[in-house]
Symmetry: C2
Subunit: 686 residues, 2 copies
């Protein structure tokens, strides 16, 4: 390995990283390069890469950005194939720097070489004994870590140290001029030393290729936990200004997570705590949680938080309650189990855990309160402390034996019992909310059935131009959407004939306008010829449309209205959306998204996840609706969008779901403008 820009001064990047690399020189030789030469860290620096006795396998670039291109050229000429660029001052500073990065990336690809960075903090890989992170020693362990931000990595490492866990491979990516997240993620698919992957991504640059890599890591049994800010407009602004990347909307990321099984979190704390929970604990077989506490009210708070997170805290069955009263005479036998011993019996937790963990009626055990009280507060009572520690070991052994997750919260997370539990793979958290979040994540991982990242079909013949409402109807009907019956008409005579044929009441819609309901171009519930003629005259006078559509009025009161659509994300391509519709749609935001195209089965799953889903399956005495027809329509729409890259957005609002069948009562297709095309190079995937 070579460090270009090596320095004797360890307060400088090139000094710090050189010193750290030299500490692991037993694994492979390290050459220091400084254009001024000189002695540093007990050896003499080479003046150029060309002076080295061999071609380095890995070149750490710690010199100023000004020397980047000449250094890169020299290294590539020597045959170097791998670079880690720590220096800053290129892409993050604006257009000029970004252009230099693009040119360098092309040079690298041409030479068959790779570069991490620039503007990164380096990487570590304990499977190969590599420690090349500036200002940081990365502890060894089983977490795979990828971060665009070095600061976020440093924070993550601090949390890992406090917990007592470490990293198999740790990569900060910086500006991603060459190597991006997807490529590093891919490396974890068969990385046996890695049990969980934590990923911090400020602004994503890769689309389906990234999703596919994530899906493969997850499928290999390694959960992926993702922190990706930018949900809010201000958060998106921050991502853009900090990394120059586009922020991906929360709805699109939800679709990506659904397809891949990636777990999304919102804060650096959650990124670590969920990762740590997934590191050791087994996956629960269900959502039934037994809560045990030594009193003080933590049990009730935990139960509230668990149920708010979608877990269940059911009462103990009579037999289990009886066994618990034998093990802990002062317990009430309820769940949460409050053994009401205060802190006077240091092994009380250890007596309760095997009883509840052994019961078939629970899938997980949640111990909450003051475990480690004696060790933390009165270490002078040696027997009590010893009993606590022994109890902790028994708890860990029991969790291992039953294969059920045990998650612990205690106000004394640094005391010996907690340390012992964590070392044995039992996650222990200082905060109730953290412990609940970790158990909820275990359940999500256990229950996840990622749908996979769908392949995009070959493009169909593109639509000729922006379709009006009638053309949109035709196109979607051909794609398999069940459009409400209608006729294109010009003039009163054709309109009356169509209405007679369809049967009153009918709807009248003017063509040639995009937002029909806003412009007053739609008249509904026209009960007879007179009403139709009046509406036609009114619309004609106001809008003078080239033609109109007469449609049979649907039985709105016999079904419920959904919104169904597909939108093209700049990175991830077509994303399908289903939502509860009508005028309430915008207020209630009851929507779900998935990467398009999707199969009818997956569409059905989406529909079942809506809060309004009971309305589809027959809530409050209403009849069940034709969910299969709705799902088929969603799938057809998503296939259409996936096959038409020229379509920016397609929406059916409403799709009326009836007791038998579903009917599209409206349709809208927006083509992407020519300007958009340049910005979307990645969506087609790997």
């Amino acid at each position: 390995m070579a460090v270009v820009g090596a320095s004797a001064d360890t307060s400088k990047w090139g000094g710090d990283v050189a010193a750290r690399l030299l500490r692991t020189e037993t694994v492979r030789p390290v050459y220091l390069v400084n254009r001024n030469g000189g002695e540093m860290h007990g050896r003499v620096a080479y003046r150029t890469l060309s002076d080295l006795p061999e071609t380095p396998e890995l070149v750490i670039l710690a010199m100023p950005a000004a020397a980047f291109e000449t250094t890169l050229d020299e290294a590539l000429a020597l045959g170097a194939k791998a670079f880690v660029a720590l220096f800053a001052g290129l892409g993050e500073t604006g257009q000029g720097g970004a252009a230099r990065e693009l040119r360098a990336a092309a040079r690298l690809r041409e030479a068959g070489a790779l570069m991490i960075g620039p503007n990164c903090m380096g990487l570590a890989d304990h499977t190969t004994g590599l420690q090349a992170v500036a200002y940081l020693d990365v502890p060894r362990g089983a977490i795979g870590f990828i971060s665009q931000s070095g600061a976020m990595g440093e924070e993550f490492v601090a949390r890992a140290r406090a917990w007592g866990c470490g990293f198999s491979r740790y990569v900060t990516l910086g500006n991603q001029a060459d190597v991006g997240i997807a490529e590093v993620l891919e490396g974890f698919v068969d990385h046996d030393a890695t049990r969980v992957v934590a990923l911090y991504a400020e602004g994503l640059r890769e689309g389906r290729a990234l999703a596919e890599a994530a899906a493969r890591v997850v499928a290999a049994g390694r959960p992926v936990v993702l922190l990706a800010p930018g949900r809010s407009s201000a958060g998106a602004r921050a991502a853009r200004s900090h990394t120059g990347s586009l922020a991906t909307s929360a709805a699109v990321l939800d679709a990506v997570c659904r397809a891949t099984g990636v777990l999304r979190v919102d804060t650096p704390r959650e990124l670590f705590e969920v990762t740590a929970g997934l590191l050791g604990a087994p996956r629960p077989r269900g959502r039934r949680v037994a809560v045990i506490t030594e009193g003080g009210g933590h049990g009730g708070i935990a139960a509230d938080a668990l149920e708010a997170a979608g877990l269940r805290v059911p009462a103990f069955g009579a037999a289990l309650a009886g066994r618990l009263r034998e093990a802990l005479p002062e317990s009430a036998g309820a769940n949460p189990l409050d053994f009401a011993l205060g802190t006077t019996e240091p092994d009380a937790y250890a007596r309760a855990v095997p009883v509840v963990a052994g019961a078939d009626e629970f899938d997980a055990v949640f111990a909450v309160g003051q475990l480690g009280y004696w060790a933390a507060r009165f270490p002078e009572f040696i027997e009590l402390v010893a009993a606590e520690v022994k109890g902790a070991e028994a708890m860990a052994a029991c969790a291992q034996a039953t294969g059920k997750p045990l998650v612990v919260n205690t106000v004394y997370p640094d005391a010996a019992p907690a340390v012992r539990l964590r070392a044995a793979g039992v996650p222990v958290y200082r905060e109730i909310a953290s412990a609940v979040g970790a158990l909820a994540a275990l359940v999500r991982v256990a229950e996840a059935r990622p749908s996979g990242v769908p392949r995009l079909p070959p493009p169909a013949a593109a639509l000729a131009g922006p379709p009006d409402y009638w053309q949109a109807r035709e196109v979607l009907a051909a794609a398999g959407l069940p459009m409400v019956e209608g006729r294109r008409v010009t003039g009163a005579e054709e309109a009356l004939a169509a209405a007679r044929e369809l049967g009153y009441p009918v709807a009248l819609k003017a063509l040639g306008l995009l937002h029909k309901s806003d412009a007053g171009a739609v008249a509904l519930g026209l009960g007879d010829a007179a009403a139709l003629l009046a509406a036609l005259a009114d619309i004609g006078a106001r809008l003078a449309p080239p033609a109109c559509v007469v449609e049979r009025m649907a039985a709105l009161d016999q079904g419920i209205e959904l919104i169904v659509g597909c939108r093209r994300d700049p990175l991830f391509g077509p994303v399908a959306l289903v939502g509860y519709g009508g005028v309430y749609a915008e207020l209630l935001r009851d929507t779900r998204t998935a990467l398009a195209p999707l199969e009818a089965g997956e569409a059905r799953t989406l529909l079942a996840e809506l809060r309004a889903a009971p309305l589809l399956t027959g809530a409050r005495g209403r009849s069940a609706l034709d969910v299969a027809a709705a799902a088929a329509a969603v799938a057809a729409l998503s296939r259409f969008a996936a096959a038409h890259p020229e379509v920016e957005e397609v929406e059916v609002n409403p799709l009326l779901v009836l007791p038998s069948g579903a009917l599209a009562l409206d349709a809208r297709i927006v083509l992407r403008s020519a300007d958009d095309d340049a910005a979307r190079p990645n969506e087609e995937g790997a």
Copy 2:
């Protein structure tokens, strides 16, 4: 003061608390009492209270529960008026213990004396130099603290110590055999040393008296922060088993908080962190937050969290952006302000804060990231650390000068800059979510306009018996509810006459059944006489009702349906509920609650807070509805419920709100059963 059950052994309660009291004996004499006498803590213990040279002002009861009554009798006979009972073994153990507590409470009241506990950890009051908490030294400060649980108090003190703040008065209440939360709360109304009150209540026992005390504390300028578990059924079970108290539902607590201005939190962590935030920071005048960060992605995460919490992170105006670029040349001038200096300029935060804090366009400043990096990571760089500390002092001074809250998040909360900031009243949090929660709490306190705890009117003449639907209509119409027009009919002839009078279409409802729609006792939209007769025949054959009601069909499609009701809470009495109605009501849970009775203005505020509120005021081109009429109906219903303590529940579902007026289309009144009465002694308030 006297300690009964004093011990030489400090691992026992009577030993620990005696030793602690003796440390503050300069303030007042301490007498130790042990029935065996003996020497302890450097003095000889008295054998009985009667042996003391004077009557103690305060008696700490640390002997076993078995000796409670004899000790109490002796003390009361001597004229002692105040007791703190630490011992356990009474109310929390079951019926027998609870009965002994009730008898003791009666004895105390008779003697004009007061007792805290039993089963508590004691209390401290720094304004009077009292430190009588077992196993704990309580630091001095400006937090007033009340907790039913001693363990929760201990945890809170640990957090306060880590933060560097303390307590004016600290009270653990245990079983509340005599003194309850309301009485202690009341003591904070004019307690000048207290700036904020934190309250942990597992199961409430007092109703409106508690709410009134809380309202008075808040009105005196002291925010009250409340942690009260029991939202979930399991959480409620835990509260019941741990304290024997009833859990109060989240909806009722929401109503109490609305009336009083109390801030509710969900975890022990939030209880402390929100309290700490309220301790020093000024109240923001609005919701516009400037976020500043030194890079690394924390700014975007914070912006997402702030916007999710209802705060705003608007872009900087051009003038402000210009001033920022002068102060911090490398900043992008966006909000979040990322000055992109990494950690290289330790005073960068201090240069940014005055610029944004001085701008009228922001109400609060949120600094996020790695403040204190040098102090925490490289303390050997003394000049950089000094610059950080000086910067922190400048930030605090600026916050003080502008009167705008500055809230800080840093991964180095224990480093000198953070300590210095907290000492100056600037809240500093380790976690982004904590800092966001604290700022959101500051905004809530600043915006709170508590409605006050409404007085219950004198009871009206009680309803004679459970009213059927027709009687409920009559009663509510008399109370001012706008009932849809209808007629009580028996037989076809009366029904047809009523329908003719009202005009078709009509609705037909069978009397004598409570859940009409479930039992098929309602027929809607009967368009003519034939339809009415058919429905009458059908209902008659199936249900044989004593009579029916014929009602004019309302124009459902011209308005929106609300649920409006009042329910009697065992503790807090009548609580009004408004919600978005119809078949979606249960799915969407879009409801708000308030203590009844409420004025029309307050009802209007409730309605405006529904997520569906835009539907009332005219969303998406729909006409605005008569919100005033809806509010008047809610107020009338709440007045009715408040004046009828025999009414368990009254509900109008739906209340149809129309462009002009509102119409109650259904009504249901449930009387409380005789069994309920005994359990509800507290609701009438103080």
